[in-house]
Symmetry: C2
Subunit: 283 residues, 2 copies
C-alpha cells in the first residue's frame, strides 16, 4: 500500500505540524491550510511543509489524493460543510480527533454523495504545549495509532491509513470499532484527565506543592490542560465518559470501605491485582 506523494494537512497546530514534520522527513511533499499566515511561514521556514494557504480554494484543495484533518471536532464539521465539494474525486480523508462516535455521523452525512472516503483515525500522541512552533515528529514514536473503520470504508482505504500511521513513525498501529475506541479513550485518557484536574482543584495546593513527591507529580502531569479542547472532547464523549467515571468511583468506594472497616484482605487483594496488571505495561 503506497501513499500518494503529495499530502494536504488541514489545520496547522501541534498535531498538524507534527504530522507535517513526520511526513516531510519521510520525503513526502506536504502542503497545509492554516488560519494564520505566521503558522504557514514558520512551517515553510522550518521545512515542515513545501507551501500552503490561509484561504481555501478549489484549485488548491483538489490536487490532493490524501488529506489529513488536524482540527477540533466542530471545526472539522464546519470545514467540510463549507468546502467538501472542493475535494478531489477519489480522495481519502482522515482525521486526528480523540472521540469517534460523535463525529462519524456528522461527517458521513456531509460527504455521503461525494466520491471521497473518510477513514477515521486517532494518533494517540500529544504534548502539554500547543501550536505549530512546538510541532515534533517524535511525538508519534511512543504513540498508538488507532484506525476506527466504518461500514463505508473499503479494506484498501483502511490499509492506506494504517500505512500512514506507520509512515509517521507510530509505535503501534491497530484497529478498533468507533464504540470500543471511545470507551477505551474515555477510560485511559479522559478519566485520567478528570482525575488529574480534580486532584489539583480539590485542595489548595499552594501550601502543598513544596511537599509533593514523584507520585503526585506523576498523577498531575496532565493537569495543565487546554480547557477549550478538553471540555469539547468530554462533551463529545459524554455518556461513555460518565459511565467510566462511575466505574472508577465505585472502585474508589470499594477501597474506601475496606479501609474504613479495616478489611485488610480486600485492600491487599486490590493492591495485588493492581501490581500484577501494572507489571504488564511497558514503562
Amino acid at each position: 500500500m503506497k501513499l500518494p506523494n503529495k499530502i494536504l494537512i488541514v489545520g496547522l497546530g501541534l498535531m498538524g505540524g507534527s504530522y507535517a514534520d513526520a511526513l516531510s522527513k519521510k520525503g513526502y511533499e506536504v502542503y497545509a491550510l492554516a488560519h494564520r499566515q505566521e503558522s504557514l511561514d514558520f512551517a515553510v521556514k522550518n521545512g515542515l511543509i513545501k507551501g500552503g494557504s490561509t484561504s481555501v480554494d478549489e484549485e488548491f484543495v483538489s490536487q490532493f489524493d490524501l488529506v489529513v484533518f488536524a482540527l477540533y471536532p466542530h471545526t472539522l464539521i464546519q470545514w467540510l460543510e463549507q468546502y467538501h465539494s472542493f475535494l478531489k474525486p477519489g480522495a481519502i480523508l482522515t482525521d486526528v480527533t480523540g472521540v469517534k462516535s460523535s463525529i462519524i455521523p456528522g461527517v458521513s452525512e456531509i460527504i455521503k454523495d461525494d466520491d471521497v472516503e473518510f477513514v477515521f483515525a486517532h494518533p494517540m500522541a500529544g504534548k502539554e504545549v500547543y501550536g505549530v512552533e512546538n510541532a515534533d515528529a517524535d511525538i508519534f514514536k511512543k504513540a498508538n495509532f488507532i484506525v476506527t473503520p466504518t461500514n463505508s470504508n473499503k479494506e484498501e482505504s483502511v490499509q492506506l491509513i494504517e500505512e500512514l500511521g506507520r509512515e509517521i513513525g507510530s509505535y503501534h498501529v491497530t484497529r478498533l470499532t468507533p464504540e470500543l475506541h471511545d470507551e477505551m479513550i474515555a477510560y485511559v485518557s479522559q478519566l485520567a484527565h478528570v482525575i488529574a484536574v480534580s486532584l489539583m482543584t480539590a485542595k489548595d495546593c499552594d501550601s502543598l506543592y513544596e511537599y509533593t513527591g514523584n507520585s503526585f507529580r506523576d498523577l498531575t502531569r496532565i493537569a495543565d490542560i487546554n480547557e477549550d479542547m478538553w471540555s469539547e472532547l468530554f462533551l463529545d464523549n459524554k455518556e461513555t465518559l460518565l459511565s467510566q467515571i462511575d466505574l472508577f468511583m465505585d472502585e474508589m468506594k470499594k477501597m474506601r470501605e475496606a479501609l474504613d472497616k479495616g478489611d485488610v484482605e480486600t485492600m491487599k487483594s486490590m493492591m495485588k491485582l493492581s501490581s500484577i496488571r501494572r507489571r504488564k505495561f511497558r514503562s
Copy 2:
C-alpha cells in the same frame, strides 16, 4: 550542627540501604542491624556499611550517638520494646516512617524514662523496588525531607536531624507538625496510591494496556505496590486518609455533575484553576 561520625542504621531494606549509601559516600562510618546476613554481606561488599550484625546486643548498640530506624511502623515499636534499654544515654534517634500521628505516642511511651531523644522524620524518597540490593543514595536527590518535631524535642536535636537530611542530599529539608504532615501525606501520597490502584482494578486492563497513552502510564506508575507496607500505612493514617479520599471524590462528583448537565463553564473553570496550580510545580 555536626553529626557524629559513627551512625547506626536499624533495618537494611531499600530505605536503610539508601541511607547507608548516602552517609558512607559522605565519609561517615555506617553500621547496620539487619534480619538477613546476606543483606549485611551485600552492604559491606558494596561499601554501604563498614559492618553490622543480625543479632542485637547492648555492647554493639550502645556505641552509637545517632540511630536511624528504617523499619515498618509496627516493627519499629517491637524493636524499641525489646531493646530500648541498650541505646546509649544521650543518643538521638530518628525514623523514616510515612505516617507520624500513629507512631509517635507508642514510641514516646516506650522511651519516656530513657535518656534518649527521638526526632521523627520522613524522607519522602522511594522506588518501586525493594531491598538493600536496590539501595541508591540518589533517591534522596529529588525528595523532600520532613522533620516533625514534638514537644519533647530540643531545638538542637531537631537541627541535628535537619542536618542529617541535608547530608544525605535531600532536595528540600523542612518542618511540619505531625498532624499537618499526615494530612499532606494522605493527600499527595496515599490518595495518589488509592487512585492508581483503583484505576488498575476497576476495569480489566488486559485488553486496554496496549492502548495506554503516556497519561494513563503516568497515573498508574505507582500502581505496582507493596501491599503489606501500603495497607499498613493506610491503616496507620486511616481517619485522615478517609477524609482526603472524600475531599477528592466530592471534587470528582462536581466535575461529573458539570459534564452530565453540560455545564461547560464549571468544567472550564476547574480546568483553568488546575492548570494555574500545576504550572507552579517543578517538572
